[in-house]
Protein backbone atom coordinates (compact mmCIF):
# COMPACT_ATOMS: atom_id res chain seq x y z
CA UNK A 1 0.00 0.00 0.00
CA UNK A 2 1.63 3.17 -1.08
CA UNK A 3 -0.97 5.80 -0.34
CA UNK A 4 0.10 9.38 -0.23
CA UNK A 5 -0.65 9.55 3.44
CA UNK A 6 1.72 6.69 4.11
CA UNK A 7 4.69 7.97 2.22
CA UNK A 8 7.73 8.55 4.31
CA UNK A 9 8.78 12.19 4.50
CA UNK A 10 11.54 12.60 1.96
CA UNK A 11 14.83 13.86 3.29
CA UNK A 12 15.67 15.70 0.12
CA UNK A 13 12.74 17.47 -1.43
CA UNK A 14 14.59 19.39 -4.08
CA UNK A 15 13.52 18.40 -7.56
CA UNK A 16 10.77 16.29 -6.08
CA UNK A 17 7.68 16.75 -8.28
CA UNK A 18 5.35 15.68 -5.50
CA UNK A 19 6.91 18.17 -3.11
CA UNK A 20 6.72 20.87 -5.75
CA UNK A 21 3.04 20.13 -6.28
CA UNK A 22 2.39 20.26 -2.55
CA UNK A 23 4.23 23.54 -2.21
CA UNK A 24 2.27 25.08 -5.04
CA UNK A 25 -0.95 23.80 -3.48
CA UNK A 26 -0.07 25.29 -0.11
CA UNK A 27 0.69 28.59 -1.79
CA UNK A 28 -2.67 28.53 -3.57
CA UNK A 29 -4.49 27.73 -0.33
CA UNK A 30 -2.79 30.61 1.45
CA UNK A 31 -3.65 33.01 -1.34
CA UNK A 32 -7.28 31.92 -1.45
CA UNK A 33 -7.48 32.23 2.33
CA UNK A 34 -6.17 35.77 1.99
CA UNK A 35 -9.02 36.57 -0.38
CA UNK A 36 -7.86 35.63 -3.88
CA UNK A 37 -11.05 33.68 -4.42
CA UNK A 38 -10.58 33.50 -8.14
CA UNK A 39 -7.77 31.00 -7.53
CA UNK A 40 -10.00 28.49 -5.79
CA UNK A 41 -10.98 26.64 -8.92
CA UNK A 42 -7.32 26.27 -9.79
CA UNK A 43 -6.86 24.69 -6.37
CA UNK A 44 -9.74 22.28 -6.88
CA UNK A 45 -9.15 21.44 -10.52
CA UNK A 46 -6.61 18.60 -9.94
CA UNK A 47 -9.14 16.83 -7.73
CA UNK A 48 -12.38 17.47 -9.55
CA UNK A 49 -12.48 13.96 -10.99
CA UNK A 50 -11.72 12.45 -7.62
CA UNK A 51 -14.54 14.45 -6.11
CA UNK A 52 -16.90 13.11 -8.73
CA UNK A 53 -15.60 9.55 -8.32
CA UNK A 54 -16.08 9.67 -4.54
CA UNK A 55 -19.63 10.93 -4.93
CA UNK A 56 -20.38 8.36 -7.60
CA UNK A 57 -19.05 5.56 -5.41
CA UNK A 58 -21.68 6.39 -2.84
CA UNK A 59 -24.58 7.46 -5.00
CA UNK A 60 -24.09 5.58 -8.28
CA UNK A 61 -26.23 8.07 -10.20
CA UNK A 62 -24.06 10.29 -12.42
CA UNK A 63 -26.51 13.17 -12.13
CA UNK A 64 -26.61 12.95 -8.33
CA UNK A 65 -22.84 12.55 -8.20
CA UNK A 66 -22.29 15.69 -10.23
CA UNK A 67 -24.78 17.61 -8.15
CA UNK A 68 -23.08 16.51 -4.95
CA UNK A 69 -19.65 17.23 -6.40
CA UNK A 70 -20.74 20.80 -7.08
CA UNK A 71 -22.24 21.16 -3.61
CA UNK A 72 -19.07 19.82 -2.04
CA UNK A 73 -16.79 22.16 -3.94
CA UNK A 74 -18.97 25.14 -3.10
CA UNK A 75 -18.97 24.10 0.55
CA UNK A 76 -15.21 23.72 0.51
CA UNK A 77 -14.92 27.20 -0.96
CA UNK A 78 -17.20 28.62 1.72
CA UNK A 79 -15.10 27.00 4.45
CA UNK A 80 -11.62 27.38 3.02
CA UNK A 81 -10.55 29.66 5.84
CA UNK A 82 -11.21 26.85 8.29
CA UNK A 83 -8.85 24.53 6.46
CA UNK A 84 -5.70 23.88 8.44
CA UNK A 85 -2.37 23.12 6.82
CA UNK A 86 -1.78 19.96 8.85
CA UNK A 87 -4.46 18.19 6.81
CA UNK A 88 -4.17 17.25 3.18
CA UNK A 89 -6.38 19.42 1.01
CA UNK A 90 -7.46 16.47 -1.12
CA UNK A 91 -8.49 14.48 1.97
CA UNK A 92 -10.41 17.43 3.34
CA UNK A 93 -12.16 17.94 0.01
CA UNK A 94 -13.03 14.26 -0.33
CA UNK A 95 -14.39 14.16 3.22
CA UNK A 96 -16.67 17.07 2.46
CA UNK A 97 -17.78 15.28 -0.69
CA UNK A 98 -18.46 12.06 1.17
CA UNK A 99 -20.47 13.92 3.80
CA UNK A 100 -22.53 15.60 1.12
CA UNK A 101 -23.09 12.29 -0.68
CA UNK A 102 -24.12 10.53 2.50
CA UNK A 103 -26.56 13.30 3.39
CA UNK A 104 -28.05 12.98 -0.06
CA UNK A 105 -28.34 9.25 0.29
CA UNK A 106 -29.91 9.46 3.73
CA UNK A 107 -32.59 11.71 2.35
CA UNK A 108 -33.44 9.12 -0.26
CA UNK A 109 -33.14 5.77 1.46
CA UNK A 110 -34.21 3.89 4.57
CA UNK A 111 -31.06 3.72 6.62
CA UNK A 112 -32.34 1.38 9.35
CA UNK A 113 -33.05 -1.51 7.01
CA UNK A 114 -29.74 -1.00 5.29
CA UNK A 115 -27.84 -1.20 8.55
CA UNK A 116 -29.49 -4.49 9.50
CA UNK A 117 -28.70 -5.97 6.10
CA UNK A 118 -25.10 -4.78 6.36
CA UNK A 119 -24.56 -6.42 9.74
CA UNK A 120 -26.05 -9.70 8.58
CA UNK A 121 -23.78 -9.93 5.56
CA UNK A 122 -20.64 -8.89 7.37
CA UNK A 123 -21.07 -11.64 9.92
CA UNK A 124 -20.57 -14.28 7.25
CA UNK A 125 -17.07 -15.28 6.19
CA UNK A 126 -15.90 -14.78 2.64
CA UNK A 127 -13.84 -17.60 1.17
CA UNK A 128 -11.62 -16.50 -1.71
CA UNK A 129 -11.78 -18.75 -4.73
CA UNK A 130 -9.00 -20.98 -5.90
CA UNK A 131 -7.83 -20.47 -9.45
CA UNK A 132 -5.82 -22.92 -11.51
CA UNK A 133 -4.54 -20.28 -13.92
CA UNK A 134 -4.32 -16.70 -12.85
CA UNK A 135 -1.48 -14.31 -13.45
CA UNK A 136 -0.54 -11.09 -11.85
CA UNK A 137 -1.64 -8.06 -13.82
CA UNK A 138 1.40 -5.80 -14.11
CA UNK A 139 1.00 -2.08 -13.48
CA UNK A 140 2.21 -1.41 -17.01
CA UNK A 141 -1.03 -2.96 -18.26
CA UNK A 142 -2.84 0.12 -16.95
CA UNK A 143 -1.51 1.99 -19.96
CA UNK A 144 -4.22 0.18 -21.87
CA UNK A 145 -7.66 1.70 -21.72
CA UNK A 146 -9.40 -1.68 -21.95
CA UNK A 147 -7.59 -2.90 -18.85
CA UNK A 148 -8.56 0.22 -16.92
CA UNK A 149 -12.12 -0.25 -18.08
CA UNK A 150 -12.10 -3.88 -16.91
CA UNK A 151 -10.98 -2.79 -13.48
CA UNK A 152 -13.63 -0.08 -13.37
CA UNK A 153 -16.28 -2.57 -14.46
CA UNK A 154 -15.23 -5.04 -11.77
CA UNK A 155 -15.42 -2.32 -9.12
CA UNK A 156 -18.87 -1.31 -10.31
CA UNK A 157 -20.20 -4.79 -9.63
CA UNK A 158 -19.46 -4.57 -5.89
CA UNK A 159 -22.27 -3.80 -3.49
CA UNK A 160 -22.34 -0.19 -2.48
CA UNK A 161 -21.08 -0.70 1.08
CA UNK A 162 -17.98 -2.50 -0.17
CA UNK A 163 -17.39 -0.22 -3.10
CA UNK A 164 -17.55 3.00 -1.10
CA UNK A 165 -15.05 1.77 1.49
CA UNK A 166 -12.72 0.48 -1.20
CA UNK A 167 -12.89 3.69 -3.23
CA UNK A 168 -12.21 5.89 -0.23
CA UNK A 169 -9.47 3.72 1.23
CA UNK A 170 -7.63 2.27 -1.76
CA UNK A 171 -8.34 4.79 -4.48
CA UNK A 172 -8.83 8.07 -2.65
CA UNK A 173 -6.14 7.05 -0.16
CA UNK A 174 -7.98 7.96 3.01
CA UNK A 175 -6.74 5.97 5.98
CA UNK A 176 -8.94 3.60 7.98
CA UNK A 177 -9.88 6.22 10.56
CA UNK A 178 -10.65 8.85 7.93
CA UNK A 179 -12.76 6.39 5.96
CA UNK A 180 -14.67 5.43 9.09
CA UNK A 181 -15.32 9.06 9.95
CA UNK A 182 -16.32 9.91 6.41
CA UNK A 183 -18.84 7.07 6.25
CA UNK A 184 -19.97 7.26 9.86
CA UNK A 185 -19.12 3.63 10.60
CA UNK A 186 -16.65 1.97 12.95
CA UNK A 187 -13.05 1.28 12.00
CA UNK A 188 -13.82 -2.42 12.51
CA UNK A 189 -16.55 -2.20 9.87
CA UNK A 190 -14.20 -0.40 7.52
CA UNK A 191 -11.63 -3.16 7.89
CA UNK A 192 -14.21 -5.90 7.39
CA UNK A 193 -15.69 -4.29 4.31
CA UNK A 194 -12.30 -3.41 2.88
CA UNK A 195 -11.14 -6.98 3.24
CA UNK A 196 -14.27 -8.26 1.57
CA UNK A 197 -13.98 -5.72 -1.26
CA UNK A 198 -10.35 -6.58 -1.93
CA UNK A 199 -11.00 -10.33 -1.91
CA UNK A 200 -14.01 -9.98 -4.18
CA UNK A 201 -12.06 -7.85 -6.63
CA UNK A 202 -9.25 -10.36 -6.56
CA UNK A 203 -11.75 -13.07 -7.45
CA UNK A 204 -13.40 -10.96 -10.13
CA UNK A 205 -10.09 -10.15 -11.79
CA UNK A 206 -8.94 -13.74 -11.52
CA UNK A 207 -12.15 -14.91 -13.16
CA UNK A 208 -11.63 -12.24 -15.81
CA UNK A 209 -8.21 -13.61 -16.49
CA UNK A 210 -9.68 -17.07 -16.99
CA UNK A 211 -12.23 -15.58 -19.37
CA UNK A 212 -9.48 -13.95 -21.41
CA UNK A 213 -9.99 -10.31 -20.34
CA UNK A 214 -6.29 -9.78 -19.97
CA UNK A 215 -5.10 -12.35 -22.47
CA UNK A 216 -2.86 -9.91 -24.34
CA UNK A 217 -0.98 -8.75 -21.28
CA UNK A 218 2.64 -9.82 -21.48
CA UNK A 219 4.01 -11.39 -18.33
CA UNK A 220 7.30 -12.89 -17.32
CA UNK A 221 7.54 -16.63 -17.33
CA UNK A 222 7.17 -17.79 -13.78
CA UNK A 223 5.29 -14.67 -12.74
CA UNK A 224 2.32 -16.82 -12.01
CA UNK A 225 1.71 -17.04 -8.31
CA UNK A 226 -1.15 -19.48 -8.59
Amino acid sequence: MSGLGKMAEPIAVLNNPEQARTTREQDLIARVQRGQNELFYELVRPYERRVYAAALAILRSPADAEDVAQEAVVKAFANIRQFRAEARFSTWLIQITVNEALMRRRRERTVVMEAIDDRREEETEYAPREFADWREIPSEALERKEVRQRLADALATLDRKYREVFVLRDMEQLNIQETAEALGISTASVKTRLLRARLMLRDLLAAGWEQGWFSRIPFEKGNKPW
Binding site: Q70, V74, F77, P225
Partner: protein
Protein backbone atom coordinates in the same frame (compact mmCIF):
# COMPACT_ATOMS: atom_id res chain seq x y z
CA UNK B 1 -7.79 -26.33 1.74
CA UNK B 2 -8.31 -25.59 5.39
CA UNK B 3 -5.47 -27.09 7.32
CA UNK B 4 -5.04 -28.05 10.92
CA UNK B 5 -2.37 -25.54 11.87
CA UNK B 6 -3.09 -23.17 14.73
CA UNK B 7 -3.20 -20.43 12.09
CA UNK B 8 -5.50 -21.86 9.46
CA UNK B 9 -6.61 -20.55 6.07
CA UNK B 10 -9.77 -18.81 7.32
CA UNK B 11 -7.75 -17.01 9.94
CA UNK B 12 -5.22 -15.89 7.35
CA UNK B 13 -7.93 -14.63 5.00
CA UNK B 14 -9.41 -12.51 7.79
CA UNK B 15 -6.03 -10.92 8.46
CA UNK B 16 -4.81 -10.53 4.91
CA UNK B 17 -5.83 -6.89 4.59
CA UNK B 18 -4.14 -6.03 7.87
CA UNK B 19 -1.06 -7.93 6.71
CA UNK B 20 -0.91 -5.97 3.46
CA UNK B 21 -1.51 -2.64 5.22
CA UNK B 22 1.14 -3.35 7.85
CA UNK B 23 -1.46 -3.30 10.59
CA UNK B 24 -1.12 -6.90 11.65
CA UNK B 25 -0.49 -7.65 15.30
CA UNK B 26 3.30 -8.29 15.34
CA UNK B 27 2.75 -11.37 17.48
CA UNK B 28 0.78 -12.98 14.66
CA UNK B 29 3.20 -12.22 11.86
CA UNK B 30 5.59 -15.21 12.20
CA UNK B 31 2.75 -17.73 12.26
CA UNK B 32 0.99 -16.16 9.28
CA UNK B 33 4.18 -15.93 7.24
CA UNK B 34 4.89 -19.56 8.05
CA UNK B 35 1.42 -20.39 6.78
CA UNK B 36 2.09 -18.56 3.50
CA UNK B 37 5.18 -20.69 3.07
CA UNK B 38 3.21 -23.87 3.32
CA UNK B 39 -0.13 -22.98 1.72
CA UNK B 40 -0.17 -22.21 -2.01
CA UNK B 41 -3.79 -21.12 -1.97
CA UNK B 42 -3.24 -18.50 0.75
CA UNK B 43 -0.12 -17.34 -1.08
CA UNK B 44 -2.20 -16.83 -4.19
CA UNK B 45 -4.85 -14.95 -2.21
CA UNK B 46 -2.14 -12.73 -0.75
CA UNK B 47 -0.53 -11.98 -4.11
CA UNK B 48 -3.86 -11.48 -5.82
CA UNK B 49 -5.05 -9.09 -3.13
CA UNK B 50 -1.79 -7.16 -3.26
CA UNK B 51 -2.23 -6.96 -7.00
CA UNK B 52 -5.70 -5.49 -6.55
CA UNK B 53 -4.47 -2.86 -4.07
CA UNK B 54 -1.55 -1.87 -6.27
CA UNK B 55 -3.63 -1.61 -9.45
CA UNK B 56 -6.50 0.35 -7.99
CA UNK B 57 -4.28 2.79 -6.14
CA UNK B 58 -2.74 3.79 -9.45
CA UNK B 59 -3.51 7.35 -10.54
CA UNK B 60 -4.37 6.09 -13.99
CA UNK B 61 -7.54 4.53 -12.63
CA UNK B 62 -8.93 8.00 -12.01
CA UNK B 63 -7.99 9.41 -15.35
CA UNK B 64 -10.45 10.76 -17.83
CA UNK B 65 -10.95 7.48 -19.65
CA UNK B 66 -11.81 5.43 -16.60
CA UNK B 67 -13.89 7.87 -14.61
CA UNK B 68 -16.11 9.18 -17.35
CA UNK B 69 -17.32 12.45 -15.91
CA UNK B 70 -20.40 13.83 -17.64
CA UNK B 71 -19.73 16.07 -20.62
CA UNK B 72 -19.29 19.65 -19.51
CA UNK B 73 -18.69 18.66 -15.89
CA UNK B 74 -15.67 20.89 -15.40
CA UNK B 75 -17.29 23.89 -17.01
CA UNK B 76 -20.45 23.53 -14.94
CA UNK B 77 -18.44 23.07 -11.77
CA UNK B 78 -16.44 26.22 -12.40
CA UNK B 79 -19.58 28.15 -13.29
CA UNK B 80 -21.36 26.97 -10.15
CA UNK B 81 -18.39 28.02 -8.09
CA UNK B 82 -18.39 31.47 -9.63
CA UNK B 83 -22.14 31.81 -9.06
CA UNK B 84 -21.77 30.77 -5.46
CA UNK B 85 -19.01 33.27 -4.94
CA UNK B 86 -21.19 36.05 -6.28
CA UNK B 87 -24.07 35.12 -4.00
CA UNK B 88 -21.82 34.99 -0.96
CA UNK B 89 -20.59 38.50 -1.60
CA UNK B 90 -17.04 37.42 -2.03
CA UNK B 91 -14.36 39.09 -4.05
CA UNK B 92 -15.76 37.68 -7.28
CA UNK B 93 -19.04 39.24 -6.30
CA UNK B 94 -17.63 42.61 -5.40
CA UNK B 95 -15.68 42.70 -8.62
CA UNK B 96 -18.72 42.19 -10.76
CA UNK B 97 -20.77 44.53 -8.59
CA UNK B 98 -18.64 47.58 -9.15
CA UNK B 99 -17.36 46.54 -12.51
CA UNK B 100 -20.47 47.47 -14.48
CA UNK B 101 -20.96 51.04 -13.26
CA UNK B 102 -17.27 51.81 -13.28
CA UNK B 103 -16.77 50.45 -16.75
CA UNK B 104 -19.95 52.12 -17.93
CA UNK B 105 -18.65 55.43 -16.68
CA UNK B 106 -15.41 54.74 -18.40
CA UNK B 107 -17.30 54.07 -21.62
CA UNK B 108 -19.38 57.25 -21.30
CA UNK B 109 -16.24 59.16 -20.70
CA UNK B 110 -14.65 57.35 -23.56
CA UNK B 111 -13.84 60.61 -25.24
CA UNK B 112 -11.44 61.35 -22.46
CA UNK B 113 -8.30 60.04 -24.00
CA UNK B 114 -5.40 60.41 -21.75
CA UNK B 115 -2.25 61.76 -23.24
CA UNK B 116 -0.10 58.88 -22.07
CA UNK B 117 -1.52 56.25 -24.36
CA UNK B 118 -0.40 52.66 -24.17
CA UNK B 119 2.65 51.93 -26.22
CA UNK B 120 3.57 48.34 -25.33
CA UNK B 121 2.54 45.98 -28.10
CA UNK B 122 2.97 42.31 -27.30
CA UNK B 123 2.43 39.67 -30.02
CA UNK B 124 -1.14 39.60 -31.27
CA UNK B 125 -2.98 36.33 -30.94
CA UNK B 126 -6.06 36.81 -33.11
CA UNK B 127 -5.48 37.08 -36.80
CA UNK B 128 -7.37 40.34 -37.16
CA UNK B 129 -6.41 41.69 -33.77
CA UNK B 130 -5.19 45.24 -33.62
CA UNK B 131 -3.36 46.94 -30.82
CA UNK B 132 -5.65 49.97 -30.88
CA UNK B 133 -4.54 53.51 -30.40
CA UNK B 134 -4.98 56.17 -27.74
CA UNK B 135 -6.64 53.76 -25.37
CA UNK B 136 -6.66 55.31 -21.90
CA UNK B 137 -4.30 53.07 -19.95
CA UNK B 138 -6.33 53.41 -16.76
CA UNK B 139 -9.60 52.56 -18.43
CA UNK B 140 -11.26 49.63 -16.68
CA UNK B 141 -11.86 46.76 -19.05
CA UNK B 142 -12.87 43.15 -18.63
CA UNK B 143 -11.55 39.92 -20.06
CA UNK B 144 -13.12 36.49 -20.08
CA UNK B 145 -11.08 33.90 -18.25
CA UNK B 146 -12.74 31.23 -20.34
CA UNK B 147 -11.81 32.56 -23.73
CA UNK B 148 -8.69 31.91 -25.72
CA UNK B 149 -9.21 34.76 -28.15
CA UNK B 150 -7.47 37.15 -25.75
CA UNK B 151 -9.79 40.11 -26.30
CA UNK B 152 -10.62 42.78 -23.79
CA UNK B 153 -13.95 44.55 -23.62
CA UNK B 154 -15.79 47.30 -21.85
CA UNK B 155 -18.17 45.87 -19.26
CA UNK B 156 -21.52 45.04 -20.74
CA UNK B 157 -20.16 44.31 -24.18
CA UNK B 158 -22.53 41.73 -25.70
CA UNK B 159 -19.59 39.89 -27.22
CA UNK B 160 -17.94 38.89 -23.98
CA UNK B 161 -17.40 35.17 -24.27
CA UNK B 162 -18.77 34.14 -20.88
CA UNK B 163 -20.06 36.85 -18.60
CA UNK B 164 -19.81 34.52 -15.62
CA UNK B 165 -16.08 34.26 -16.01
CA UNK B 166 -14.80 37.79 -16.34
CA UNK B 167 -12.15 39.63 -14.47
CA UNK B 168 -11.44 43.32 -14.59
CA UNK B 169 -8.19 45.11 -15.09
CA UNK B 170 -6.91 48.29 -16.64
CA UNK B 171 -6.43 48.58 -20.36
CA UNK B 172 -2.68 48.83 -19.85
CA UNK B 173 -2.63 45.62 -17.83
CA UNK B 174 -4.77 43.87 -20.44
CA UNK B 175 -2.47 44.91 -23.26
CA UNK B 176 0.61 43.99 -21.26
CA UNK B 177 -0.90 40.55 -20.76
CA UNK B 178 -1.39 40.08 -24.48
CA UNK B 179 -5.05 41.04 -24.79
CA UNK B 180 -6.24 43.13 -27.71
CA UNK B 181 -9.31 45.37 -27.99
CA UNK B 182 -12.66 43.88 -28.92
CA UNK B 183 -13.51 44.88 -32.47
CA UNK B 184 -17.00 45.93 -31.42
CA UNK B 185 -17.01 47.71 -28.11
CA UNK B 186 -13.52 49.15 -28.54
CA UNK B 187 -14.09 50.11 -32.14
CA UNK B 188 -13.34 53.75 -31.69
CA UNK B 189 -9.81 52.91 -30.61
CA UNK B 190 -9.21 50.80 -33.69
CA UNK B 191 -8.31 51.65 -37.21
CA UNK B 192 -11.53 50.06 -38.46
CA UNK B 193 -13.54 53.02 -37.14
CA UNK B 194 -15.23 54.70 -40.04
CA UNK B 195 -14.38 51.81 -42.33
CA UNK B 196 -17.58 49.78 -42.69
CA UNK B 197 -16.06 47.37 -45.12
CA UNK B 198 -13.35 46.41 -42.70
CA UNK B 199 -15.84 45.97 -39.88
CA UNK B 200 -18.05 43.77 -42.02
CA UNK B 201 -15.11 41.53 -42.77
CA UNK B 202 -14.26 41.38 -39.11
CA UNK B 203 -17.81 40.44 -38.30
CA UNK B 204 -17.55 37.49 -40.61
CA UNK B 205 -14.22 36.50 -39.19
CA UNK B 206 -15.50 36.63 -35.65
CA UNK B 207 -18.59 34.66 -36.51
CA UNK B 208 -16.36 32.07 -38.12
CA UNK B 209 -14.27 31.98 -34.96
CA UNK B 210 -17.40 31.44 -32.94
CA UNK B 211 -18.39 28.57 -35.15
CA UNK B 212 -15.08 26.87 -34.65
CA UNK B 213 -15.40 27.14 -30.88
CA UNK B 214 -18.95 25.89 -31.02
CA UNK B 215 -20.05 28.66 -28.72
CA UNK B 216 -21.35 31.90 -30.15
CA UNK B 217 -20.70 35.22 -28.48
Amino acid sequence: MVNREPVNCEFVWREISNYIDGELDPALRPAIEAHFQSCAHCRSVLEGTRNVVRLYSDERLIDEQTIAVPAGYSRRLEKRLAQSARVSGSRWSSLSAWLVPVAALALIAGGLRLANSVTHTPPLKVQHAQPGHDIPPDMVVVVSTDDDTKLFHVAGCPFIHDKNKVRSLTAKQAIDQGYTPCLRCMRKYLNVAGNPGAVADDDQDEEADSGVRGEGH
